[in-house]
């Protein structure tokens, strides 16, 4: 009992200790590259930051920043970054937590695991897709007394890739490029509207069924800036 209590105290204590992004002394890294849109045109004023993180998600809090820059008129960036040896390391393109975040573009994180790494990384011809708002409207127009089970998958606007090709299993959850949403519409509920950002000119897969045992029917929906709404009536 006493040992268990001590262990509990230790776990609570260590859980309360804030993680610091430790910097590797006597090392500077060079991060460079260029960013293009879907038409291969350079994109100007996109923030590019290097940061450390305790886990494999890059928050880019001020205390975690290791370097930053933004793209010039030719879409190129070039900056010096510190390195960390006790944290995950990543380079983020258009990070949502950065003050210069541009909502109309997606976000790409290049993540590296804890440990040593090269002193330069060149990220060339990064394709940064535009985003758009997608709206799904589901309406029970026939007063049908069934439960609607539905789910839809859409391209994520924030994706992770490995900074080094061998640093991660890119099939892991963190590296998924699609987001899935599922829910149900109960009898008596007339309608629901779901709004989410997704990539412009992308395809969304909508699945539905009217009983838990049934197999989903699938509908593919093309989303464009001119056609951001899909209505499903039953």
């Amino acid at each position: 009992m006493k040992k268990a209590l001590l262990l509990l105290i230790f776990i609570v204590f260590t859980g309360c200790v804030q993680h610091n992004v430790g910097v590797v002394g006597s090392k500077r890294m060079l991060i460079s590259g260029n960013i293009l849109n879907a038409e291969n045109t350079p994109i100007e004023n996109i923030s590019v930051i290097a940061s450390g993180a305790e886990y494999d998600r890059l928050w880019a809090r001020p205390a975690q920043m290791l370097g930053e820059s933004s793209t010039d008129a030719s879409g190129e960036f070039f900056f010096v970054s510190l390195d960390t040896d006790n944290s995950f390391y990543g380079v983020s393109i258009n990070h949502p937590n950065h003050q210069d975040y541009r909502e109309e573009f997606s976000t790409i994180h290049y993540l590296d695991s804890i440990g040593s790494r090269e002193n330069s990384f060149e990220l060339t011809n990064i394709q940064l897709p535009k985003t758009q708002r997608f709206e799904l409207k589901i309406e029970n127009t026939t007063a049908r007394e069934d439960t609607l089970f539905y789910r839809f998958t859409y391209p994520a606007t924030e994706v992770y890739q490995g900074l080094n090709s061998n640093s991660f299993d890119e099939n892991s959850f963190r590296f998924q490029t699609e987001t899935e949403y599922w829910n149900r519409l109960l009898p008596g509920e007339d309608e629901i509207t779901i709004v989410t950002p997704t990539l412009a000119n992308s395809s969304i897969q909508f699945k539905y069924k009217f009983s838990a045992e049934a197999v989903y029917d699938t509908i593919n929906v093309e989303i464009t800036p001119e056609n951001p709404v899909y209505e499903f009536n039953f």
Binding site: V23, K27, L30, P62, M65, L66, F78, V80
Partner: protein
């Protein structure tokens, strides 16, 4: 050649050209040696630094102070040691060229050999060369880390003595720091070869040995 470097050359070479014109085998009669031989002097100084070359220090303000000790081996020859501390804060918010280093505290500890010449009873020149170690403590947002290097200095001081004990001076120092930072080749000179011009002023405390 930028104006800072020209200023440095003038500050270093002009006093040397003055001393090159005379050759005094014995200490100058006005020097305080005849009755109470000069033994040591202590120095306290303040200085401001300027980056002479294109290096990472150009992104930081440079202000510091130093403490110096000199011993007269001969009436015109000194050996001594110096400790100086220079603080640098990032100018502006741009960390593009530096990484997230918001400030640097640079410690220098070294030895030097100097030539001391009294033009007259008040005015004098102290020119010295030295080497030492430099230790830069960098402040990142979430941690501090230190980096070491070697340093060479070349300095000229023009001093004015009020009496046997007290003096003031102005100085120009060229300091070359060679760091050992792992960088890609394109950044090697920028982070590992620092040339600094330090302009400053200070006070000296001269002590004599009454018994010769």
């Amino acid at each position: 050649m930028n104006s800072t470097f020209k200023l440095f050359l003038f500050a270093i070479l002009f006093p040397l050209s003055l001393t090159a014109q005379d050759s005094i085998p014995e200490p100058h009669p006005n020097q305080y040696v005849a009755t109470d031989p000069e033994t040591v002097f202590f120095v306290g100084e303040f200085f401001r630094g300027y980056s002479v070359n294109n290096s990472s220090w150009e992104n930081y303000s440079q202000l510091g102070f130093g403490l110096d000790f000199n011993w007269f081996v001969l009436p015109f020859l000194t050996i001594g040691g110096e400790y100086s501390l220079m603080g640098g804060n990032l100018k502006g918010e741009d960390i593009n060229n530096t990484g997230a280093v918001k400030g640097i505290t640079s410690h220098y500890l070294g030895l030097h050999l100097g030539y001391y010449h009294a033009f007259n009873k008040e005015w004098n020149l102290h020119t010295l060369a030295g080497f030492g170690e430099v230790n830069n403590v960098n402040r990142a947002p979430d941690s501090r880390f230190a980096e070491d290097g070697n340093s060479l200095i070349l300095r000229s001081e023009i001093g004015y003595r009020f009496d046997k004990t007290a003096a003031i001076f102005i100085k120009a120092t060229l300091r070359w720091d060679r760091m050992d930072i792992d960088t890609p080749p394109t950044l090697d000179d920028y982070f590992n070869k620092q040339s600094l011009l330090l302009l400053g002023f200070g006070v000296r405390l001269h002590l004599q040995n009454p018994n010769g």
